[in-house]
Amino acid sequence: MTEISTELALLVDVGSAWAKAGVIGRVRGRWRLVAHAAQPTAWGPAELRRSLIRQLNAAGDPRLADRYDELLASANRIECHTARQPGRLAVVAVSRELSGSTARRAAEAAGWQVTELVTLDDGRSLAERLATLQAADVDAWLVAGGFDDARSPRALEAAALVASARMPDGGPVIWAGSAQLTNEVMLLFEGGAASAVANARPDARREEPGPLRDRLQAILRQSVAPEDEAHLSTIAFTHAVGAIAADGGLRVLAVDLGARGGVRVVAEADGTTSTTVHSSGGMAGATLMAGAAGRVARLAGDAGDEAAVADVLQTLRARPASLPQTPEELSATQAAARMLIGAMVEDPATDPVDLVIGAGLTISGAPHPAQAARMLLDGVRPLGITQLAVDSGSVLGPLGSLGDDEIGEGMTLLADDLLLPLGTAVVCRGGEPGDAAMRVTVHRSGWPTPSPVEVRVGQLLVAPLGRGQEAELLIEPAAGVSLGAPRRSSRIEARATGGAVGLILDARGVPITLPRRGDDRRAVLAGWRDALMRETERIA
């Protein structure tokens, strides 16, 4: 008997709470994702392999049934993983609302976990602040405060507080406050311990967190996470998104919403990328956002009252490797995801893109593609005409860990399984409630041209456009309605590609405004949910 041979590769993404793995193999001459499993990381690699083997035994070539274990053991393994320990930072600032919030956001966007935030207006006594900072177990210190046009004694006091609480050699100190105080602040610390960066809040009206974020990212890489960078999920995910952008000549926004952290990547058509890592921007971080429970309850509409939602958000923090079991919990989780994506995209603000990619189990593992589309659509609010897709096989991270010379080949091999296209969204803003926002004519090659679809302000409609289908769009925005780009004509022609959801025509505005009355709000939210689900189910 002739021995059957096959080639397999194993893609593994080990997260802080969930581990995902995919097996790619040659099926009828083409490379396909032939098995995929996601499980709590705590279950261990042996269980992950057993899950894959179970799937391969059920769906793979029966002649290989006894050999999958051996084949997986010898398969080419491509892996990425979350940083083993987040960098822990203490932030000391003059005011909670100005320097404190700016410093905190910059630190979190650089991937640091802010374990202590002390501000001189936090209501604590000096002794309490000192005690708090002396008890802080951190890898670095960030001090901020004072505007650049003045020498603020309070800012110097903030630096002195750190100098008093921190032990010698107790980690690097970054001064991001008044430029006029830099020399004095440097003298407070032993030689080489402190460094200065441009004030992230140079005056009351201006916020310039970029240089601070870059410095913090560099320190994080040097001092806390000197791991093999290529295999770090944040680096690998960015690499893969850059490759997709370059390959398609597209401007791409990708959000990876993990159990604990979140990553936002903007990739230009030439492949250059900019990444912000939000160490507390994952699902577990939802409960840390101001007024989170109330906001999520409002956004979800059907997740229960604020108290019930607060418990769900705490559960996401306490048990990040568990799954929503009731529809209310799922609704709260997905509304929290929309809120977290919104926060990631806001800071810094993102210009229009051609493609939005969602990754992370909450998005890519959503029970229904319409739910994934809604998380991206409501979270990002991509003004204009944008394709939506999800990393349903969790392959972007592992693929991104390949070298520049291999990633293109990997993407080509996985062409059909690289991303799950959800469809195309046309999002506009402006107009008066109830009035027409835009008329859209959808022309598909070989089909009779239908009448234009009128979309009213506040309305969400879905037109059928399945995976692999394309359509020419003729969009006529009403007066006062914008799709983002400056208009030269009253008509916009564009091309749309289909997907698991279809063509989404969204005139709900940017940002979305919801009715104040609870009953009205719930009715509107249910209407949007049903509009997305109905057409998707019809396509399916």
Partner: protein, 341 residues
């Protein structure tokens, strides 16, 4: 290993190898009060910028009364007017910011064990108690005798169960305690509370009232809460509840913010394992079965969709309240038998 962080200038009172008790003083410190300015440059007859080079101390140095803070080498010096912490020097106006030290305060470890290291930064202690880890908590480190406050693991801890006998104790409640109950417990001098779960909103309400009372000086003494199972009305696992019952009266340490409990002279608590197998006693962690125990009867061959629609590897659980349900394995934890049998 338990780590007790020491403030700058603390005086340690223990050595490596020393056996410590929860109430034992490991070190002392003199917490600083509000900062005040002390003229430096003018006393040294130098400019503010020049005087910075004449300082004898660095920020964080503890100075006794009369100890030198700066000198010019020509006989002029600036001495600490009282025991203080030197915080920093303002090169703009030539003043030092100092914080007077208050009365000596003890630093307790709140644990029983053996000191394994003593440093300027921290004292480390190998704890000799049984550890129970929770999923959340609030408050500081406390210790006291364990006392059961409810009869059933799913019973709510009511304010009426807190009486004078609870003062200084660590109360073990059941599935929930209201903000009123927590407030009464604190007012009655209860050291801490262990619960299966608590509504996040009620915990936040309680914390908010404590912050306000602290601001007006109305709160004294420490208090901690630890939740074992989850958030919401979630009971304690029956086996763990029985373990607490069997250790009523034993000394315990509670670390609220770290969500940890140590119980001394105790058997090991029921251990937990992430991946449950058929025949295991399990506890569920998500609604509608959160906190409920049962037995994993069967693991389904194919992934199963929850009522929410999430498809996952799942198993059939026969719960102790008589219900049976298919639950994602990710939402279950296996309880290891205590004797390993």
């Amino acid at each position: 290993m338990h780590r007790v962080r020491l403030p700058v200038g603390a005086t340690t009172l223990v050595e490596i190898g020393h056996g410590v008790e929860p109430a034992e003083v490991l070190a002392t410190s003199r917490p600083p009060g509000g900062g005040t300015s002390l003229q430096v440059a003018s006393r040294l007859r130098r400019s503010a910028a020049e005087a910075v080079d004449l300082l004898s101390v660095r920020p964080g140095t503890v100075l006794e009364a009369g100890e030198r803070l700066a000198e010019d080498g020509d006989g002029r010096e600036v001495l600490a007017p009282y025991a203080c912490l030197f915080l920093g020097y303002d090169a703009d106006d030539g003043t030092a910011l100092i914080a007077p030290l208050g009365a000596t305060e003890p630093i307790l470890g709140h644990v029983r064990g053996e000191v394994t290291s003593v440093g300027a930064e921290a004292i480390e202690i190998r704890v000799t108690g049984a550890l129970v880890a929770g999923v959340g908590g609030s408050g500081s480190a406390v210790h006291g005798e364990l006392r059961m406050a409810v009869h059933e693991p799913g019973e709510e801890l009511r304010a009426g169960a807190i009486d004078v006998g609870a003062t200084g104790r660590i109360m073990v409640g059941g599935s929930r305690a209201s903000a009123e109950t927590l407030t009464r417990a604190r007012a009655m001098g209860v050291a801490g509370i262990v619960l299966g779960g608590v509504l996040d909103k009620e915990l936040r309400d309680f914390e908010a009232t404590q912050v306000r009372r602290r601001e007006v000086g109305g709160v004294r003494g420490d208090f901690a809460i630890v939740m074992i199972s989850g958030f919401g009305k979630v009971g304690l696992d029956a086996a763990l509840f029985a373990w607490f019952q069997s250790h009523e009266g034993r000394l315990a340490s509670l670390f609220g913010a770290a969500a940890r409990i140590y119980v001394y002279d105790a058997d090991p608590p029921p251990a937990r394992r992430a991946l449950a197998r058929v025949g295991d006693r399990v506890i569920a962690h998500r609604r509608p079965f959160a906190g409920l125990g049962g037995e994993l009867v069967r693991v389904l061959d194919l992934p199963h969709a929850t009522p929410a629609g999430v498809t996952a590897r799942s198993g059939l659980v026969s719960f102790e309240d008589g219900r049976s349900a298919i639950v994602p394995l990710a939402n279950l934890e296996a309880m290891e038998p205590r004797d390993g049998g």
